[in-house]
Amino acid sequence: MCGCLLLSACVQAPVFETHNHAVLRSNYPVVRLNGEAIEPSYRLDLAAGSTVAVIVYNTYQFDYHCTFSWEAKSGTVYEVTDQENRYPLTLYRWVRTNSLWASRLEPTDPLDCVKKKRGSA
């Protein structure tokens, strides 16, 4: 019973800041948002609309600065992760399917990924 309760609490719907916002979750740090440098963040509340984010995929040899551009829709969750696709990172629309799992839909590649020496800005 306790296990069921724990499991059913695993996949939770996100809380949006306002009605006109979306959420960006990332397994890697977001360092630029809409052209402005920001503190490295893993969760951001976004105003709905055109969004450009730069997210860094870290490896021991290089950092890959990947630029994503998409139209963020109100009340939608987006997630960036590495899935060994053509680019190091992929943007998905995250949807809570039920309490046990979520779905990653509409994979979107970055516009480009700039390879930089590890640790360089």
Binding site: L7, C10, V11, Q12, N27, Y28, P29, Y42, Y57, N58, T59, Y60, Q61, F62, Y64, T81, D82, Q83, E84, N85, R86, P88, Y92, W94, R96, T97, L100, W101, A102, S103, R104, L105, P107, C113, K115
Partner: protein
């Protein structure tokens, strides 16, 4: 002779956990076999149940069999079934002097999970594994006597893995991880045609033994993985090395109270591309693969092979879900392949998940 038989029988009852006997007049065939084997094939008489009686004191003429071979055989079967990196398979060994059929199957899952601050990621996996071996051989004892063996082994194991994944760059990862598995091994052995068996009746030439053993395996694995996209197609190459320490416990077979080190090397390759097909809005990809598995420290007499080649293809569906909102489950696929090696033919047909 009678006292030897009686004492031998008692020895077996005490040390080998004999649970049943079949008494059969000498000369009545039990198993159908291929041509007689040369004397070195005596070394193939590997069975946990038979092990305690395979001493020169009990069965003169079979002194070539050593306890170490018995141990290695049992552990080789468990390792070739439960080692990390192995998938399902059905194998037939037929080298003219030995016929065996082995299968293994597993239900499990392994995935990386992201650790946000450090560069490396975590890696975990769980699996339940089952396998069996039916091994039939005909032997010629030192005195020219024909001995027939029919061995059946079954194993069920649980395995858990945990480790790290270090991305060197976009294309290369190094993944060390540790696996623990617990296996339950059941063995039935039928020895036929061996006069001088330790039984009360001098005419007895057939004996049936049932024994069990539990094995705790600790495996240290190191994997190097390369993957690169060429347009819509993807090439994956990987090298896997597994160092296995096995601790075996048996209440009814003291020969298997043992510990052993073994290692397995695997080379895997895979090439995949888009099919243009979709289901529920998710795409299907075709794949071709070729794998080589080398049981480096395994002796040929243990199972009849020391390496396997596997070639095949399949389809994968990119279902892309995130169970428990924790780790990504990207692919669900079907795969079929052929397995081959010297004197070995086999196949794999099943589902895969990653």
């Amino acid at each position: 002779m009678a006292s030897n038989i009686a004492s031998g029988f008692a020895y077996l009852e005490r040390n080998a956990g004999v649970t049943s006997w079949q008494l059969r007049p000498e000369g009545e065939p039990v198993l159908n076999f291929v041509k007689p084997l040369p004397a070195p094939w005596l070394l193939v008489v590997i069975n946990t149940a038979v092990a305690p009686m395979l001493n020169a004191d009990v069965l003169p003429g079979l002194s070539a069999l050593s306890e170490s071979i018995v141990r290695e055989s049992a552990i080789a079967f468990v390792n070739s079934t439960t080692s990390p990196g192995l998938e399902g398979a059905t194998l037939d060994v037929d080298d003219g002097t030995r016929q065996s059929e082995q299968w293994r199957s597993s239900l499990g899952f392994a995935a990386e999970f992201t650790l946000k601050r450090p560069i490396f990621n975590g890696y975990w996996g769980v699996g339940i594994i089952g396998g069996s071996l039916s091994d039939q051989s005909e032997l010629v004892a030192d005195n020219g006597q024909t001995v027939q063996l029919d061995l059946t082994r079954e194993v069920v194991a649980l395995r858990g893995s945990f480790g790290l994944s270090f991305p060197i760059n976009q294309y290369v990862k190094i993944r060390p991880y540790l696996s623990l598995s617990v296996s339950d091994l059941q063995t039935e052995s039928i020895v036929d045609g061996l006069s001088g068996l330790p039984a009360p009746d001098p005419q007895t030439t057939t004996a049936v033994f049932n024994t069990s053993a539990q094995m705790l395996s600790t495996t240290g694995s190191l994997e190097a993985l390369f993957s690169r996209w060429y347009g819509e197609k993807r090439l994956e190459l990987s090298v896997h090395y597994h160092l296995i320490h096995t601790d075996a416990i048996s209440e009814d077979n003291p020969v298997l109270q043992t510990k052993a080190w073994n290692d397995v090397l695997q080379l895997k390759s895979r090439y995949s591309g888009p099919t243009g097909l979709t289901s529920l809005g998710r795409s299907w990809r075709w794949l071709l693969y070729a794998n080589h598995t080398n049981f480096v420290s395994q002796k040929r007499i243990s199972l009849g092979y020391t390496s396997l080649f596997e070639f095949g293809g399949g389809m994968e569906w990119r279902m892309n879900i995130k169970p428990l909102d924790w780790f990504g489950w990207q692919m669900l696929g079907i795969k079929a392949g052929v397995i081959t090696s010297e004197h070995v033919e086999g196949y794999f047909l099943g589902m895969t998940a990653r």
